[in-house]
């Protein structure tokens, strides 16, 4: 990005004469706008469609398939419809807070896109405190959600808001503690720096670096799910308990913003996990063409992060919801202590384990990961066979 701006402002460039800081700011704004409108909105929308399709398949249904090809335009229909719906502000609500809250939530999640490195070049701002910035900026979401819960003047919303605040604040701790081992290993807070410290192959990833980072990964993912209010931690909007939680009173456009934030957040979770543990945009060295490289890196990064989006959808379709006191004890009794052990363990690991052994452990860890996946598919096959074994393929209804 910096080179691009330098090129443009330099001799014979398109913007020759414009002072560099102004050009850089403009470029950042422009790229930010492109990211939001061309990337964030569609990604959030398509994620919502995909989630419905994934859910449907897990539930033996087909899911939305009428609106556009295979229902792909479903998110567009949902979006436009919600934009045009009557926007109700309840008379008893606090009008100002009620109106602001959704924007805060959206800002909280869109701002994280500023530091997400889509490739070695495609990043709005490669802050040297990138990961810290992410943890800080997502704090805005809490404010928005709490504000929404309070301003609605609805008891369900209030309960949802309070639950959300308690949950996000608590889970910031294990999430941050799980980032620290990576920071220890890389010695940088910059997102690009963290990715550059890893390689393209699985055994170069921090996920398989040592047993402590392996555990840290799961702690981080679970904590991120909790921060994103995803099942099994979707207590703030627990449909069967709190009707719709903090967005009970929201309709139309404002609800759409919450909707957007929920699915957009999902991608952010995937992106950060990919950056920290899965080698980010790292690809094998195949070409020197910067454009091809950017596309390739973007593709790899996008696929990796979307894989975790898929996992989050799949988890949501599988697991029940925890209770609010269990949520807290899970955080404070299990995740925080384990995260601290990880941190200390990684530090000791760095000091004790010699460089040669390091490589062996990484290969073994990778093999272990592969073994888990193989074991998993073994279980899948078992379930399929049990269902098929006695499935006499006798369907009563001729259509099915």
């Amino acid at each position: 990005m910096k080179q691009l701006v330098l090129q443009l402002t330099g001799e014979g460039g398109l913007l020759a004469g414009v002072p560099y800081p102004l050009a850089a700011a403009l470029a950042m704004l422009l790229f930010g706008a492109i990211v939001v409108f061309v990337f964030v909105l569609p990604v959030a929308g398509v994620t919502s469609w995909l989630e419905r399709r994934v859910w449907a398949r897990i539930q033996s249904r087909v899911g939305p398939n009428r609106v556009g090809p295979q229902g792909f335009l479903q998110w567009l229909a949902d979006g436009i419809k919600n934009m045009l719906k009557e926007d109700i502000i309840p008379t008893a609500a606090d009008r100002i807070l009620f109106s602001i809250a959704p924007y805060l939530v959206v800002i909280g999640f869109i701002a994280t896109f500023a530091v997400i490195p889509f490739s070695s070049a495609l990043v709005i701002a490669d802050l040297n405190i990138g990961i810290l910035y992410v943890t800080a900026v997502t704090g805005l979401v809490v404010v928005g959600v709490l504000m929404a819960g309070w301003a609605s003047n609805n008891k369900w919303s209030l309960l949802g808001g309070i639950r959300s605040a308690a949950q996000i604040v608590s889970y910031e701790i294990p999430a941050a503690l799980s980032i620290f081992p990576i920071v220890l290993l890389t010695g940088t807070l910059s997102m690009q720096g963290i990715i550059q410290a890893q390689g393209w192959a699985p055994w170069h990833w921090f996920l398989f670096h040592n047993p402590f980072t392996f555990t840290a990964f799961f702690i981080f993912f679970v904590a991120a799910l909790a921060e994103g209010n995803r099942t099994p931690f979707d207590l703030p909007e627990a449909e069967s308990e709190l009707v719709a939680g903090f967005c009970t009173e929201y309709s139309g456009m404002r609800y759409l913003l919450f909707f957007l934030a929920e699915w957009g957040n999902l991608y952010v979770i995937g992106a950060i996990v990919t950056t920290l543990f899965l080698g980010g945009w790292q690809v094998p060295h195949v070409t020197d063409n910067p454009f091809v490289l950017a596309v390739l890196q973007f593709g790899v990064f996008f696929l990796k992060s979307y894989f975790w989006v898929f996992i989050a959808m799949w988890v949501r379709a599988t697991l029940p919801r925890v209770r609010v006191d269990q949520l807290m004890s899970l955080c404070w009794l299990y995740m925080v202590p384990i995260a601290i052990v990880n941190l200390v363990g990684t530090a000791i690991w760095m000091m004790v384990v010699p460089a040669g052994l390091d490589r062996v452990v990484q290969m073994l860890m990778t093999l272990g990961g592969a073994a888990i996946v193989v074991g998993f598919f073994g279980r899948v096959r078992f379930h399929l066979r049990r269902a098929k074994l006695r499935d006499v393929d006798y369907y009563y209804n001729p259509i099915i």
């Binding site: 398949r57 033996s60 249904r61 899948v380 096959r381 209804n397 259509i399």
Partner: protein
């Protein structure tokens, strides 16, 4: 050591649950894509006894009012008068309110000819209640008179056969 057992159990059961849900990606969905993406109409797949929207074959209606009496909620109204000149029963009105009907089948059981019967039709959604009133008699018709021997009228015979076939299966165990 409850602490570690808890962690182990949690991981194991979530692993198991995830494998069950994942296996559904490899199974067929069960959705019948009504109305358009089905090989045959749903109505044709329904069993014979299916109690859909009521229908009346006026050709074989005897005007005996058994169905009207059997209906617990009076959603059938029949006007049958005896024509003074021809000494025949004339059906002036045979209305069924399918918006009120409870599809219990009590009316088609006592029918002597199987004239009133449930079809496998279930599509009847409409924008007003009035349009859900089924008026079967357009112009007054003469009620059917059961013959002693086999049916001779070639127009009525197949309908009567259908009605009797319906009766034997649908109302086989009917009272009296």
């Amino acid at each position: 050591m409850g602490y570690f057992r808890n962690i182990k159990e949690t991981v194991a059961t979530i692993f198991e649950g995830m494998s069950v849900t994942f296996s559904h990606f490899m199974r067929r969905p069960y959705t019948v894509q009504y109305p358009d993406r089905v090989p045959i109409r749903i109505q044709d797949t329904l069993p014979f006894r299916y109690r859909g929207i009521l229908e009346v074959d006026l050709e074989i209606c005897t005007g005996c009012l058994a169905c009207e009496r059997a209906c617990p909620i009076d959603c059938i109204v029949i006007d049958a008068v005896k024509d003074k000149d021809t000494r025949q029963m004339v059906l002036k009105r045979f209305d069924i309110d399918i918006a009120k009907c409870m599809y219990c089948g009590l009316c088609s059981e006592p029918c002597p000819t199987g004239s009133i019967h449930h079809t496998s039709e279930f599509e009847g959604a409409d924008y007003s209640l009035e349009s859900m009133l089924r008026r079967f008699v357009k112009t007054p018709v003469v009620a059917y008179k059961p013959k002693k021997g086999p049916e001779t009228d070639p127009e009525v015979a197949p309908i009567l056969d259908r009605g009797m076939a319906y009766l034997t299966d649908f109302a086989a165990g009917g009272e009296e």
